[in-house]
Symmetry: C2
Subunit: 333 residues, 2 copies
């Protein structure tokens, strides 16, 4: 195994976030399941947008958020995702490169516009996402550069990749390349409804060791095992995955392997402004800890710290140096 050029490489749906504060009645009126990610088509996007208030825009996309977080800790990061060569795609490409992430996926020159998520943030800080995949639908196995994947210590994939038709093939291709190069493959389950759509396939990825490390929140874990009992679901997860992390919002996280369980508390914060990216940034901190050889406890603390930073402002991209933030809190960087 050669020395890695990248600490973490992420593959995901490249999505530009259009965020707006609203009230719970808006969600009810539009039949949205609070806290979830729903896929919408162009007509639905237009309808939701025209009903929404004035917005703030920040680049997003689950794995992309994670990867910019990894870079904000000072690690070497790369991203693979598909945007179109349009104004939004150019802002997206700017933002990820300006975050010190290597981003070389060819942009689409025709087909649908760069993907957007219309994100409603309620007064409790919870976010409800409506995603028009757009150009992200066209991520294909050909976009996976074998040399780049083989050069990354960890390849991190989002469950959302199961939604566009070709992306799952790109996912599987990347996993094989990574494993052939002796690298680690991580997966986030992304969303409880996404898990519901692809439950059996996600379980196959875990049981067949296509992925080595799994991130999930409680809702995704319960959806995976169609359970209402977190402890029972955790016990099943330990059978299916060699290594997993379950995030539990303000209750912190649980890191599980075959031989131990490590519970790590969340960072106390004053006010949740916008939960968009909480799970993504937790994964960033945890993955960063792993590549630095930190303990599960320390990796969990790094994840909790990054999640705490992201939920205290609008948007899912870090607004400070997570490296300096970690140093302030005496965490390893």
């Amino acid at each position: 195994m050669t020395t890695a050029k990248y600490d973490v490489l992420g593959i995901g749906n490249a999505i530009f976030d259009i965020l707006v504060r609203t009230d719970d009645a808006f969600l009810t009126r539009h039949g949205m399941a609070k806290g979830s990610m729903a896929l919408i088509d162009e007509a639905q996007a237009a309808a939701i947008y025209s009903a929404m208030g004035p917005a703030t825009e920040v680049s997003g996309g689950s794995a992309a958020n994670t990867i910019t977080g990894v870079a904000a800790f000072g690690a070497r990061a790369a991203y693979v995702g598909k945007v179109k060569d349009d104004q939004i795609g150019r802002m997206y490409s700017h933002d990820i490169r300006a975050a010190n992430v290597t981003f070389t996926t060819p942009v689409a020159t025709d087909g649908p516009a760069t993907g957007c998520s219309y994100i409603l943030v309620t007064p409790d800080g919870e976010r409800t996402m409506n995603t028009y995949l757009g150009a992200a639908q066209n991520l294909r196995p050909a976009d996976i550069d074998p040399e780049q994947i083989a050069a990354a210590s960890i390849t991190y994939l989002e469950g959302y990749l199961w939604d566009p038709a070709d992306a799952k093939n790109a996912f599987v291709k990347a996993s094989k390349i990574a494993h052939d190069a002796g690298r680690t493959v991580a997966l986030t389950l992304s969303d409880a409804f996404c898990v519901h759509r692809y439950r059996d396939e996600f379980l196959d990825l875990m049981r067949g060791a296509t992925v080595d490390l799994v991130f999930a929140n409680e809702a995704e874990l319960l959806s995976l095992y169609q359970s209402t009992d977190v402890d029972a679901a955790l016990a099943q997860l330990r059978k299916d995955a060699a290594f997993a992390v379950v995030t539990r919002s303000e209750k912190g996280c649980v890191v599980v392997t075959k031989d131990k369980i490590t519970a790590v508390p969340a960072f106390p914060i004053e006010k949740v402004v916008d939960t968009t990216g909480a799970g993504d940034l937790f994964a960033a901190g945890f993955l960063f800890g792993l590549v630095r050889g930190a303990s599960h406890e320390q990796a969990g603390r790094l994840g909790a710290l990054a999640a705490a930073e992201i939920i205290q402002h609008i948007g899912a991209r870090p607004q400070v140096s997570l490296k300096e933030l970690a140093q302030k809190h005496g965490l390893p960087v």
Copy 2:
């Protein structure tokens, strides 16, 4: 004089803000005058953008910010400004209409892209703007709808309109229509460098009563009279303008007419996050007070309140109902 359909109508350069946090060294390195607005061409925009970090986008434009503020107080508001029919222009149009502002200016279907301002926000919260006017350059007298202008109690114009070649003609046309209809015309001097570019013309607008009410901050006032003495400049302003308001950042504002001077304190705030839009939102509150028949003292308080809201978050568009905020503070709405 018929009953007004709009309380305030604003005319300005429609500009989409691309905001990024940076340090003072960035400004020095790029020769930027802190706190100012510099005009840039497409090549300069590309160079500055590629040097900037990851950004947050929020619709902007000085008069447009003011007008959305007026609407956020619950008043009837309209805006005239030029965007292109591109992705950014569509977000811009969405944002202003979603803020309950009437916006019917025809969009450009060819020519330059929707204008953007690359805004650097330093740790002290000060903003430094680099504006590519783009489609805003093409605002023309033909875009001024006489019926709409005549139907507004106050027409509010930004000094920045002097930068695009044709917009000043639109400005003068709007002023004449407003006055013929017995309405009030207000002007903000916009920026100390802008005042430097058009000093004599701005003085002519005031002395010739093309404008009835003038907004300026201290730097703009001093630039107008090429002075370093605020009191002396204020005395000159009282000769040239029948009615003016000078904002003084944390020292509040001074409202001057021929027969009285009213000083109004600022609202104390915890932390300045981003001063972008401070003057714009002050004007929003003050204008709203005027149309509601408030005293100068109360109008100044409403302006100070709106300015305080805007500088505590990124971007120059209000994130709360200013009407509710004013009610909480016992101010007239």
